[in-house]
Amino acid sequence: MWMNKKYRYPEKYEPLFLDAKPFEHIVLRNFFAKEKLKKILAAFKAQQFHSQSSDLFQFSQTNDLKKTKDKQLKEFYHFFSSRKFIQYISKLTKTKLKKINMSGFTYSSTDYLLPHDDRLEGRKIAYIVNLSKLKEADGGALELFEVNNSRATKVVRSYPPQFNSLVLFKVTPSSFHQVSEVLSDKKRYTLTGWFHG
């Protein structure tokens, strides 16, 4: 079992997701079986990462994990992309979903992702599986913006990464978010991608 049993009823979390401000999102703590996720973290660290830099971001990323050769990651990918799990996320987010993509990301000291809305053909729900824990002072927090007149104005929610939390948010014209700069030597490890419609 990959999932923590307490999360087995998605309808329980649907209202929390739909009513969240500033836009539909939810942070599900201790979502996976802890010991299994620890193994995923170990496999994650052994992956090859490529540094990426643009006006908008600086971080290191793996290739799409669909093609990973690692046994553990392969299993996790298989679970996460299964019809059953996609149906579960569809219910929780009240959004019709078909498939996923997934990459590993490492944010080291000075890495960041600046405000953007994630919109791209087919992306419906963005997700983050947090594989490390950072304190507020370490940076690396997922931050959500309030939007006025279709422009992002200010950060109104800030979520420092918690190991074994699953973050979901709806991709819309107003889903502006960023990842604050990592300020310490701790690393922000995540498996991230989108559920596509």
């Binding site: 006006d55 000075t110 600046l114 953007h116 422009r151 104005t153 502006f176 960023q178 700069e181």
Partner: protein, 192 residues
């Protein structure tokens, strides 16, 4: 009227220097030049001192950028809008310059600008740099892109940068915490 002899370093009052600059500009891809030690040292110091005393205001539009800006002090503004300055730029770039659009900016930790769809530069982009010491590992450099990076300008004190920004966009790289209290202070804008 502005007398360039009171403003520009002696080297740049020499026609041969300007001719050579025009050749360098035209031969570069994208057309650009960095004119080091452009202002007379006493004038530069005088302007730099004025910049320290200004009231800066934060300009924060998350999707496009975050930095401080202030009104350009009078002496400096007169110079940048003068016919003499526009003539000098025309000589170097072989473009007729009618107007100067300039903004005085200060970039510190957490500041940045982003590329965005409506961002369309045309004309001669310029930067007059007042930053004394900079390490590009802090970010804060100006990157000119056309899908990929075509030109990177790392701050260098008392330097006038000219770039023909046709078909390019530019951004200022996010400044990370390694910059500490250092600020990049410059006047930048478009000459059209």
């Amino acid at each position: 009227m502005v007398d360039l002899r009171n403003l520009l370093a002696d080297e740049y009052l020499d026609k041969e220097t300007i001719k050579a600059a025009a050749v360098t500009f035209a031969k570069s891809n994208p057309p650009n030049i960095q004119l080091k030690n452009i202002l007379r040292q006493d004038k530069f110091n005088q302007f730099a001192e004025k910049l320290n005393a200004l009231g800066w205001e934060k300009k924060y539009v998350p999707e496009t950028g975050c930095y401080d800006h202030a009104l350009i002090p009078l002496g400096l503004s007169d110079f940048l809008h003068s016919e003499e300055f526009k003539m000098l730029i025309s000589f170097i770039t072989h473009k007729t310059i009618h107007q100067t659009r300039a903004e005085l900016c200060s970039f510190g930790h957490r500041d940045y600008t982003l590329l965005y769809d409506e961002l369309r530069d045309s004309g001669i982009f310029f930067q007059l740099e007042f930053t004394s010491q900079w390490d590009q590992n802090w970010g804060g450099y100006t990157s000119f892109t056309q899908d990929e990076e075509m030109l990177r300008i790392v701050p260098s004190s008392n330097t006038l940068v000219l770039v023909d920004c046709k078909n390019m966009k530019h951004f200022t790289k996010y400044i990370c915490h390694k910059a500490g209290q250092h600020k990049r202070i410059l006047v930048e804008g478009l000459l059209k």
